[in-house]
Symmetry: C2
Subunit: 352 residues, 2 copies
Amino acid sequence: MVRMRRIAFEELRERVKRVLVGLGLPAERAALGARLTAETDRDGVKTHGIARLPRFAAQVRAGLIVPDAAPECVVSFGAIERWTGHSGPGNIAAHAAMARAMELAKEHGIGCVALGDTSHWMRAGSYGWMAAEAGYAAMCWSNTLPNLPPWGASTPALGNNPLVVAVPRFGEGASEPVVLDIAMSQFSYGSLNSYAQRGAALPVPGGYDEQGTLTTDAAAIERSQRALPIGFWKGSGLSFVLDVLGAMLSGGKATHQFSSSALEEVGQSQVFLAIAPTAVGAVEQMRAVVDGAINAVHQATPIEAGKPARYPGEGALRVREENMRLGVAVEDAAWNGFVKLEEEIQGVRSSE
Amino acid sequence: MVRMRRIAFEELRERVKRVLVGLGLPAERAALGARLTAETDRDGVKTHGIARLPRFAAQVRAGLIVPDAAPECVVSFGAIERWTGHSGPGNIAAHAAMARAMELAKEHGIGCVALGDTSHWMRAGSYGWMAAEAGYAAMCWSNTLPNLPPWGASTPALGNNPLVVAVPRFGEGASEPVVLDIAMSQFSYGSLNSYAQRGAALPVPGGYDEQGTLTTDAAAIERSQRALPIGFWKGSGLSFVLDVLGAMLSGGKATHQFSSSALEEVGQSQVFLAIAPTAVGAVEQMRAVVDGAINAVHQATPIEAGKPARYPGEGALRVREENMRLGVAVEDAAWNGFVKLEEEIQGVRSSE
């Protein structure tokens, strides 16, 4: 059984900030990084909040991430820019890139920032929420190290490249935008491991066993390392195009240029697109479209009585409300890893 | 067994052009529409070439498509424009929209055209090939009538909204770009019907039977009308965001505003994005990225010995070469429908 505890959001944010300062981030950027991390746990994306900090710390200590590096624009042409992350913290750089894409969209109706030489951006959805809450539509994606076999092959040559599409809402629903955040594999290896440890079957097939048969047995997929791309050949193709387009535009690594070491997974390529919908249409028309589409999904006959289908992002909003009210739910394993990191940093400080 | 014949590409194009002129398209636009249609069969996308013309003709005759209407820009702001198709032929309007997005990308690095009040664009991939062959990266999508249940529901509230991502190549591979063309359902109803008629099992699960169990039985999915979105909840979410974003930007219909009648499926919303990669980087770097990524996919261990995994678009190139050499392969059913249309138009002409 997974044990949990709850931590007040402000305490979580403050303690993450101290850790990031301890790792060498300048105070203001540490505050931003801490907010993004705490918001990730607050929204229930437990795999990409404080649970990610030990690996981030290891990459900083190994010299693979430069904690005080700031992202910078290196090429600008109209509504598109190429940026470098200078090997800095990935979520800080991604936030800057989306902020700049939004500025470009304000000026040109649409804006694009391609960011290379960065590091893991933690929760992909962060940059979608950010844009949509400010009234912009957005699309962004990152590549990853090879962790997914292309359709027709049994060895990894693609990444599970997360993709985000965010759509703002206007009027009453403005604070509840539409945010889709999906990776190209049906389940992450973290999620497969969690099912395997509980001995639970996956809700749908998640990959192939060592005999090449589609299976809901997570442990078998861990052994075969043949996770399933979403939609089989379709997710395989989508992963490929996102990778090459990102690396072309950003000048960063493509998936095939990464080693298979998770510690060495730095140098990602990412693309941030923002659109100002109100540049081409009236707010009332846009409000009617989204509200009508949400209503249609809610009205579809549910498979389980009383459990209507949801729009992308709807689930996160419910978790967020609960976590703000009761304290942010964190799993003991992630929390213990975080406390250990706090102690290590405290130890380094004391000995200085 | 499906019976086939081969028709020389030029003959096919010429005969389709005569049909389109007969339906009321001005000569130049009929020539463009005929080229796009013949190229679709040439590339092996049999469901969206001449096989679609009888329905197109029925929509023209029902007054739902205005054959001589031309698309027009209605709002322009920097690098983004809103266009209306004025209920004209969808492939002509889509071609104009992508051409304009490419012009905008040439000027601003990135360009976007949102097209509303249009009709079926036939093969989605056409506009990706067009952009990539001219050196642009592109993304485009269309919404459709409701034909897919959202995840968690059993009645259709989403479309199977095709999505295209195209990436140009430079140097030797320039004529063989990367073009992904995927719908949000794992299989189209056309494809399900084809499996059902042959009594063949789907290669992977394609939906649910009437008991709500995941199945490879195409006939059972036809009965339940519960086709599977790619990646289950992921494709369901992706379909939703593409629909609302398209309808917001274009001012056209959202999926929930269509009836369930295929004949009445007009008024689609579509988005065309083009990017000029060379605005931000050097051709040599871009060439290395794509060639390296293609090589990595080809080098992955194939599941079937001697059958390496392919990159998106690679299969179409092989079919294209064969169809240009031997004549375009068309299925008898599609061909007979086309010949019937020719005769009807000839009949109308003779009686005039």
